[in-house]
């Protein structure tokens, strides 16, 4: 793969612009029982969902904020807008999307990429989806790819069966909040044996200031199916904080394979607190591919519960923490069945005063024989003020387990830079080359277009690092 040379000039955060879209509905700031009921009413939801939301709201009130991890003390739940409807109709033809919103997404390159190489796309703007399309071929084979609100209306039985089955509201305070006020997100169902050849993409955009985005994504991969889902996220740069708190639930049934890729590039004022979890059944494979470049604070630990024999978890993530950012990320794999395997690769880069943290758990329960787990964390520190932490928890209750954990911390080496420079490559390019090489195990898993974008974003982050 080539290393793109781009003329990124003086750009900083490229997606930091905002639009003047007049929302159809915008709630006042703050959260109450009524907020929760209003959201449910606006969406004309079935009673069970309203009840579920209200129960979750109670749990939210009871649960304490997490005391470990990043500093969340600045979050004020009363200073957040919990629901914004940008457009009252969801479009299936790109031309019908309101002009300002369309322009935003076009600036982000969404329809372009869809035409090129996607099997389907969803675009969420603030609280709800404004656009969705799925190629006819997959629709015919019974694939469902809609936003979760639509899914609740059109596939209520499926939603009811799985909603909260992987991440219950009581899991943690933010999961409870999401369950109470969720809106939007993707719902993806792949029928038995269907292998979707091209990736499906969802795009999440926060536009309104002080907005809280609480999408709920569910993927059900039926037996023997195969799917690749990619999500991207951006937001305008505001001086006040926004909150993104999603819940993602994935069920990988027997022999299925799901690859879930996230390119998180929120602006520097977004708290990104996300609960992502998958259950993998017999011989199924769940892959989380997780890039965290943006946000002020991210706390996200994509998890896999290996439920049945032969299930497999692969998690590979990169984090880039620049000044003002704390990327507190990692992964959790729980081996609940024998002969299950997991592999976690984490790469982090800290620049300026940025801090990146790996936090992970590998747990092998008693009697689960023949499990294997391999964890590898590498941190690269670019500047004197950069910082990194590694907190891996390894809990092993079975003697037949084979567990390996390794972590290294190093700085961008002067020797490497000098070596590349001696071959004629200028210093800044040499740095980028080394960093792109460092995250190569990650980028090689991305579709080419994303890999190029990824390297470009990293280069953007690296701007001005050569003094």
């Amino acid at each position: 793969m080539s290393l793109p040379t781009t003329d990124i000039g003086t750009e900083e955060y490229k997606y930091g612009f905002s639009d003047d879209v007049k929302p159809e509905i915008i709630f006042d700031k703050g959260l109450s029982r009524k907020t929760v009921e209003d959201i449910s009413n606006i969406k004309s939801e079935p009673g069970w969902m309203t009840d579920l939301r209200l129960k979750a709201y109670e749990i939210f009130l009871e649960k304490p904020m997490p005391e470990w991890g990043a500093d969340l003390s600045e979050i004020d739940f009363d200073d957040i807008i919990y629901f914004v409807r940008a457009s009252d109709k969801k479009m299936t033809d790109w031309d019908d999307v309101p002009a300002e919103i369309k322009e935003t997404f076009e600036k982000l390159g969404i329809p372009e990429s869809e035409r090129k190489f996607l099997a389907g796309a969803e675009a969420q703007y603030d609280s709800e989806s404004v656009y969705g399309a799925l190629q006819g071929e997959w629709e015919k084979q019974g694939v469902i790819f809609v936003d979760t609100d639509t899914a609740l209306r059109e596939h209520e039985k499926l939603v009811k069966k799985y909603f909260g089955s992987v991440v219950p509201a009581a899991d943690n305070k933010l999961a409870a909040l999401n369950t109470a006020v969720w809106s939007g997100g993707s719902f993806l169902y792949i029928p038995k044996g269907v292998k979707v050849g091209l990736p499906l993409q969802a795009y999440f955009r926060i536009n309104t200031q002080n907005m809280g985005q609480f999408e709920r994504t569910m993927i059900i991969a039926d037996e023997g199916s195969n799917v690749q889902y990619i999500e991207g996220c951006t937001a305008p740069t505001y001086t006040t904080n926004s909150l993104h708190s999603a819940v993602v639930e994935i069920i990988c049934k027997k022999d299925s394979r799901v690859r879930y890729t996230t390119l998180q590039n929120w602006s520097g004022n977004v708290y990104n607190l996300v609960t992502k979890r998958a259950q993998a059944y017999e011989n199924a494979t769940m892959e989380w591919i997780d890039a965290n470049l943006g946000s002020k604070v991210t706390m996200k630990y994509p998890s896999v519960y290996l439920m049945e024999r032969g299930a497999k978890a692969d998690v590979i993530s990169i984090a880039f923490a620049n000044t003002g950012q704390h990327q507190d990320v990692g992964s959790k794999v729980v081996h609940l069945a024998p002969y299950t395997t997991s592999k976690i690769i984490s790469k982090s880069i800290s620049k300026g005063k940025g801090r990146s943290t790996y936090r992970g758990l590998v747990k092998i329960h008693e009697g689960m024989e023949g499990c294997k787990s391999n964890v590898n964390c590498d941190a690269l520190l670019l500047d004197e003020a950069s910082a990194t932490d590694t907190y891996p928890y390894i809990e092993i209750e079975d003697p037949t387990a084979a567990i390996e954990h390794e972590a290294t911390v190093s700085k961008l080496s002067d020797e490497q830079i000098f070596y590349l420079q001696q071959r004629g490559i200028p210093e800044d390019e040499a740095r980028n080359m080394i960093i792109n090489g460092f995250i190569e195990p990650f980028t090689k898993l991305l579709p080419l277009e994303y890999a190029v974008e990824m390297n470009r974003l990293i280069e953007l982050q690296m701007e001005g690092s050569v003094g």
Binding site: S413, Q422, R423, M433, E440, P441
Partner: protein, 258 residues
Amino acid sequence: MTEKNGLLTVENLKVKIGDKEILKGVDLKIGPGEVHAIMGPNGTGKSTLAYALAGKSSYEVTSGSVTMEGENVLEMSPDERARKGLFLAFQYPSEVPGVTVDNFLRVAYNTIKKEELSIWEFRNLLKEKMEFLKIDESFSGRYLNEGFSGGEKKRNEILQMAVLQPKLAVLDETDSGLDIDALQIVAKGVNELLPEDSSVLVITHYQRILRYIKPDFVHVMIEGRIVETGGGELAEKLEEKGYDWLKEKYGESGKDSD
């Protein structure tokens, strides 16, 4: 003072690492197409000269001058020197995980040659040189120096030299750790893959490599100075007699003049 017909001119070069002066006034002139060798015991500053020529930042030049084709090399950054045609084959090349040999070398090639060879064009160019150096095809897709054996690293350095076609190739202990077969391949690469008018500076402790890369000039460095200069016969004399007689002859004076 520059000479039009010289390629590299080093005059009274003094270099410090930290507080310690390693090079204590080195003079060296290399003309186009010439092969020079610098020999000497370990720790006398041979590699320091190589790094200083290439512009390593921790090597502080305290006095003297280095010019290439009349231009002041000391004012150039390491990559500018490389683009000027100075190539250093490292004794210990750095590992750069995630960056493949072909990708790295293409970027270097395009930068130095100011060309825009596509991956395919470049791979053809690379393939030819690799065959010559008996390097396996899979090599170009491996990460730069990562997990390479000692011999592979050295061959990789020579491959890079062959691709980048420098005006001056400085080989820093390229012979160390090579078996006789590998040494012959490396030497053949140096002899046959460089343009006629390219110059070579071989830095070595042993005479062995000089059997295959015939030097026009042999210099002996003791304690940061070039103390003897001669032809190929000097190398043979050193092989026979070792360095002790030179150390005795020049070692003390080296210390005195500090």
